[in-house]
Symmetry: C2
Subunit: 360 residues, 2 copies
Amino acid sequence: MSYQIAVLAGDGIGPEVMAEARKVLSAVEERFELAIEYSEYDIGGAAIDNHGCPLPDVTLKGCEAADAILFGSVGGPKWEHLPPNDQPERGALLPLRGHFELFCNMRPAKLHSGLEHMSPLRSDISSKGFDVLCVRELTGGIYFGKPKGRQGEGESEEAFDTMRYSRKEIRRIAKIAFEAAQGRRKKVTSVDKANVLACSVLWREVVEEVAKDFPDVELEHIYIDNATMQLLRRPNEFDVMLCSNLFGDIISDEIAMLTGSMGLLSSVSLNSKGFGLYEPAGGSAPDIAGQGIANPVAQILSAALLLRHSLKLEEAAAAIEAAVGKALSDGYLTGELLPADERVNAKTTSQMGDYIAQVI
Amino acid sequence: MSYQIAVLAGDGIGPEVMAEARKVLSAVEERFELAIEYSEYDIGGAAIDNHGCPLPDVTLKGCEAADAILFGSVGGPKWEHLPPNDQPERGALLPLRGHFELFCNMRPAKLHSGLEHMSPLRSDISSKGFDVLCVRELTGGIYFGKPKGRQGEGESEEAFDTMRYSRKEIRRIAKIAFEAAQGRRKKVTSVDKANVLACSVLWREVVEEVAKDFPDVELEHIYIDNATMQLLRRPNEFDVMLCSNLFGDIISDEIAMLTGSMGLLSSVSLNSKGFGLYEPAGGSAPDIAGQGIANPVAQILSAALLLRHSLKLEEAAAAIEAAVGKALSDGYLTGELLPADERVNAKTTSQMGDYIAQVI
Ligand SMILES: CC(C)[C@H](C(=O)O)[C@@H](O)C(=O)O
Ligand SMILES: CC(C)[C@H](C(=O)O)[C@@H](O)C(=O)O
């Protein structure tokens, strides 16, 4: 069995942390006698510089030929003056999601024991820990809904976006949330704004229908404004949060920040055939790029998720996760995870990768 | 000079806390020799019970005849089975905002010194304090944009909402944010999702234009997902946050929760003529209604804001705020603001009102 991975390292810290993920993948290939082929393509700002657009055809074709995409991160100050449509984030990520119909985005966020002090929450709240999986619809809603544009003149000129969801779209993402909850703490919290949005009223209806097929899973509904609040008071009471595209964007970032260790979080975006894009939760962090201090763990864990979800190599995925777990509990930490007075013991990007690869 | 206030106490704790606001207003009338007339009207669930709809005509007419609306809170489990359009929150608040074109919503949230421990944030973050004013556009965007509805059959049935903003709408709310910033720490953070939404691209353009007339105010733009995160790490770095309707809903609630003392926060919704609706930030809190333990401070501060913004009675408004400040610093606190082991010293709803009225 041979596998094809399209590697899109991107901008900022992307290439640095990707190099460590590749190290770890090599170790896994050796141990499990796998044959993985990697093809590297430009994406984001790098692609703008080399090809004049953030998602060149050659990159798209390369991704089509692969079994999965390992994505780094895109964007940076160099490309911020460009019109929104041509910028790295919008011009690369959104079309990739749309082209491959990656409708299902899963962003797990767990407060690691031993790293509770990283959370911006009060210690009596963070000491209870939390482990939330945000299941976000990724190819519908107000991101892709038509019509979207501008009309009119002068002060009456107006812009418009359309939020749009069909029963089908809601049902397929809701099912995934309930299935995920069955393998976890059996609770789904569906986030909406049903007191204002027609889309949310339909969302609630369909989620209720889907819930009937999962009698062992508890379902609750919460308004987006209230969700933002309750996550601050009692994050430990949430298990799976099911969200539309826009609300999932907001909620998943809030939860990620609540862990205080974004450098450990990765995310999966899947289509109905199991093809997926795997990426760290943090951005391209241009401020620390090139210094060798970025945390490669999120990128390494993205590789583990890729092995699990797209290549169905559960054992290899688990081996990476175990190695990362060992590194963290052995105190192998990059600077941002250490208190200021312990930063002298910080590991570099490549020391982290070496250690994790060696454990494997 | 005689003034007319329409009093809409509503449901849950609404009537209890409104009684205390009335006490305090009486004390102010006496001290400043004012003649204020009050007319009470049913709203929300109470109006559904008595008139069959959440915003009866008589209530709307009464509000039209008044100089301002003092609003309590609406909603509760009794009315949750109703279709969304008929529920108290949606059926009362949204039409009131629309009818009177209350486009400008201001929600101040300050971490009171001495109450830092109430914040769900880590103590090294909350100890720095914060004082944020959320300026939210309240009659546009995806709340009121047309078309909104459903079409199609079976699994293809879809729902849609339209986010829509004109230059005019953006300009008038942006101006208010910059004016407010001039009287504060001179910084406006405009919240959008310009990497995805056409409305946000126009929003950014117009906000930049408005900024030119306020060279003394610093302007920064932030994406809604990033705003949700940065508020957790460094709330003290924000001054005025300028938001569209939906983003303001989310951001203002997040900031309110970050103070940890929602019972102290109130909000103003104004139209271009200075007519306004004044309400506490918290909801109707049906779980504690009728027990005499609800915190009336937010409702009392709503009355102060009404005196200031709609009746232009600055001295009277300041007197209420000073009296509230004195009550809090004298340790006059309701139970939810006290640590569990000090709750025996909690003041009741009416003790709080009495004390504040007496200080005046
Ligand atoms: C870059 C941006 C378009 C994107 C989104 O909003 O989906 C990002 O915030 C994310 O969450 O992956
Ligand atoms: C009740 C609801 C419609 C309302 C809103 O979303 O505006 C509320 O959340 C608020 O913020 O005043």
